[in-house]
Point group: C2
Chain length 495, copies 2
């Protein structure tokens, strides 16, 4: 294609025109170093000239060291030639230094996204640290053999079809599985539909994108999931924090907020709330639902780590209370239990709502990876998850109970919140979590300071310890160090 737009004219010798074309292509950078040229036979055919003319041109170019020939491989552009041309161009042409100022091009959205990016702004993970930052699942608890089997099975069932474009709503067998799965949790599928998303994050982002406008009020627990907070702010939403009590959101305060503001949504995390770890009981779930219903405000329920709850019987999601109505939007994900690297979540809600989201999804990324949906479907329907869950619950529970014990022993906190799951939330008496973190970091222990989850700068004296990626030994060592740092800070104060 290098000779794609060379039109031979009758004004000058043809071989010269070929030489000039190659040189010009190099000068304008239209050709990469070590690019292969067509063979003399090919080029003669392309240009409709005699092969001898092409041979003449190539010989001349080779003499100038612009091209070189590898026996049996073909003819190529010399790399150094390109560099020579480029350098010359740089020297002779001032305006070539034209540079775009991407900082200036960035809009409020991207600037704010970066300003609030905790990965960029907090202490990064490194090997030598005991890190209580993460609440991602312990990869050792994944069943890789079953994962492989799921992949191979699904591929042999679907063939190449599953590798081509799929549907915006998601992979049909997975959607059907999830509908049944939600039904078993007591959530009616009547007038409801499901759309598969790239995890909870995309699900929440799509809800904000599709159903809110800048300036809207959205209620949420204070503190709450940092990513949700960030997404709301990026959409110009005014999040209003409802305080947490020891058993979850303060219903009276919720009522006051609903009375005071024209609220678009309530966003709530009923199970092992992030960051406090609180599980809202049945009675309070019912109260939340009823008060929102009274004010006609839809609820976005975050199914976060709900799966870790299940025993022989379980707490039903708030979505179950909604029955055949359409006021609760449930966003689910297995990312805290299975393979978060697959990025699969789902939104369950009103038919018409999901249909709108389908069009939104097509403008975002067309659909979620079909093969990933296929693997997850196969994995889930194999029934292995149920067996695995026992192991997971046991493993996470062990860490949680040890952590609680160590916290009481070494930290003497103002309060410990959390009913299990992947993390525990601590209140300190009079030492700020930031000050503590600074001290702990020196001793190679890090955690999440509570202010990250706060809407109003509160949470200064709180911290979240993620337990899912640390061993029992690290939990004991780490918490001991946190305790020692606390003592040190207090001691220094007295002096």
């Amino acid at each position: 294609m290098l000779f794609h737009d060379l039109v031979i004219d009758k004004e000058s010798p043809i071989y010269e025109q070929i030489i000039n074309h190659v040189k010009h292509s190099i000068q304008t950078n239209m050709i990469a170093p070590n690019s292969k040229l067509p063979s003399t036979r090919e080029l003669a055919q392309i240009l409709g000239v005699s092969r001898n003319t092409v041979i003449l041109a190539y010989e001349s170019l080779e003499a100038e060291n612009i091209i070189y020939t590898k026996k049996g491989k073909g003819t190529f552009i010399t790399e150094s030639i390109l560099k020579r041309y480029k350098d010359r161009d740089y020297d002779s042409n001032q305006e070539i230094a034209w540079i775009i100022d991407w900082e200036e091009k960035a809009n409020t959205y991207s600037k704010e996204a970066e300003r609030m990016d905790i990965i960029k702004n907090e202490i990064p993970w490194s090997k030598d640290l005991i890190s209580f930052k993460s609440i991602s699942p312990d990869g050792e608890l994944f069943d890789l053999e079953e994962f492989k089997r799921s992949f191979l099975n699904r591929l042999s069932v679907e063939g190449n079809k599953i590798l081509n474009y799929g549907y915006a709503k998601g992979y049909k067998p997975l959607i059907d599985y999830l509908k049944q799965y939600m039904k078993e949790k007591g959530v009616s599928g009547e007038h409801k539909d499901i759309i598969v998303t790239n995890g909870f994050t995309e699900g929440f982002e799509m809800m904000m994108e599709a159903f809110t406008s800048p300036g809207d009020y959205v209620l949420c627990e204070n503190p709450t999931h940092n990513t949700a907070l960030r997404i709301m702010k990026l959409h110009g939403i005014k999040p209003i924090g409802v305080p947490m009590l020891e058993d979850g959101i303060d219903i009276e305060a919720l009522r006051v907020c609903l009375e005071k503001y024209p609220v678009r949504f309530l966003y709530v995390i009923p199970s092992y709330h992030n960051p406090t770890g609180i599980v809202i009981g049945e009675r309070k779930r019912s109260q939340i639902y009823e008060v929102c219903r009274t004010y006609g405000v839809p609820i976005i329920e975050d199914g976060f780590t709900e799966e870790l709850l299940y025993g022989s019987s379980h707490i039903t999601p708030i979505a179950a209370l909604d029955r055949e109505r359409n006021g609760v939007v449930y966003i689910g994900s297995f990312s805290k239990i299975l393979f978060p690297g697959l990025r699969i979540g789902w939104i369950m809600g009103d038919n018409r709502m999901v249909s709108l989201l389908e069009s939104v999804k097509r403008c975002k990324n067309i659909h979620t990876s079909s093969i990933d949906q296929g693997i997850l479907y196969e994995y889930l329907q194999s029934g292995i998850l149920k067996r695995q869950m026992k192991r997971m619950r046991k493993s996470y529970k062990e860490r949680f109970e040890l952590a609680k014990q160590c916290i009481e022993q070494y930290i003497e906190p103002e309060f410990i919140w959390g009913d299990g799951g992947l993390h525990v939330y601590i209140g300190l008496q009079d030492v700020s979590a930031r000050e503590l973190l600074q001290c702990c970091h020196k001793r190679k222990v890090i955690f999440m300071p509570g202010d990250i989850f706060s809407l109003d700068g509160s949470g200064e004296y709180t911290l979240r310890l993620g337990l899912s990626r640390v061993s029992l030994g690290e939990i004991e060592d780490g918490i001991k160090i946190i305790g020692e740092c606390l003592c040190e800070i207090k001691k220094n104060r007295k002096n």
Copy 2:
């Protein structure tokens, strides 16, 4: 967990409290049909009461047919009981019919996304149709064995790590591979970085989200890729169409637009342009670059089906002309060649720009599926793509040439545009593509009417035939039918 918030008091008999709690849980829908209750032993332990008390409560509930016992399985909630409670509730409580009007909740974004959703608004594909609508790749050309091998290899190299959370920028080995890949196309990696996205669509959406504001002007070819057009409009951007000539965008018109408007970006598809199929030659690529440079306007280059171009040598992307500068943003994707179901694309551009996009990506979906990136990496580095490309080019070329021949024979169009790739673009003399489509649909043939790709309602007399998902036989039959429909329409007019 059903008994999670039952607190036994001393006011009434304990067994009655258990009974009332179960009934209340059913009434408030906090329990799913056929849910398993804790065993009497378990519950006695949970509540700290005697086992006999629990047995008494269960017996009483069973007598009321509220629960039932399966020998050796446990005790469960009766399904019909739930229904009875629900129905009663429905009848007695008017306000229970509270319904959210999601139509009213939808904002401009979601309403417009739906209005412009061609999947919803155009004739859907069905088995009995010869459909020239699609330009997705022919799945028969995928190498499933190599795909499997890639999956298994990558999983055995990475283990469970690749199934856990990854980096927003993408999977490191894939990024490194793509940098090398771009280098081989002549694109300098100096001061540049790559972020992996969920396909081209997400890449383009992220660029608009991060670097434009409502009211901004973005130039593009007219006609252009429908999805890009939709995304621009959803972001409140004013897309300005630059007319196409037979060899690509009209440079003079481009210059006039750059002079006239404060332009944010130029969006351009240089190879097998969608929908016209035009490949822009080297000279014109250089002109596009230079004129944008003069006006200081960055270019977003869509690498769409560029891979189908490569012969023994190739046309370099516009990004190659940018050298060590930072004015061209290249969005690449293999989705028109390999596995679009995996949804993987990438943005290559200025370091600082990519760093901002990294924070944006974290607010969208954290990162693109790691296992999919791993599979693609393994597949690419196996070198199989190069071997496959020959087969693909041959297969698509065969279809393209047959289509062109049939169009000339049966349609006698005003023009045929397109240099190959996955589609061909036709201009009709005086029959609108919509009228033709209506007639063809009756005869089981469909295609994309050109107005879909147009910025200004032009393109009424044009249509795109996608060739990648139709057999040679279907191409001949389908185009013959289109020709017959054209004749019929013209004949009817004369009468």
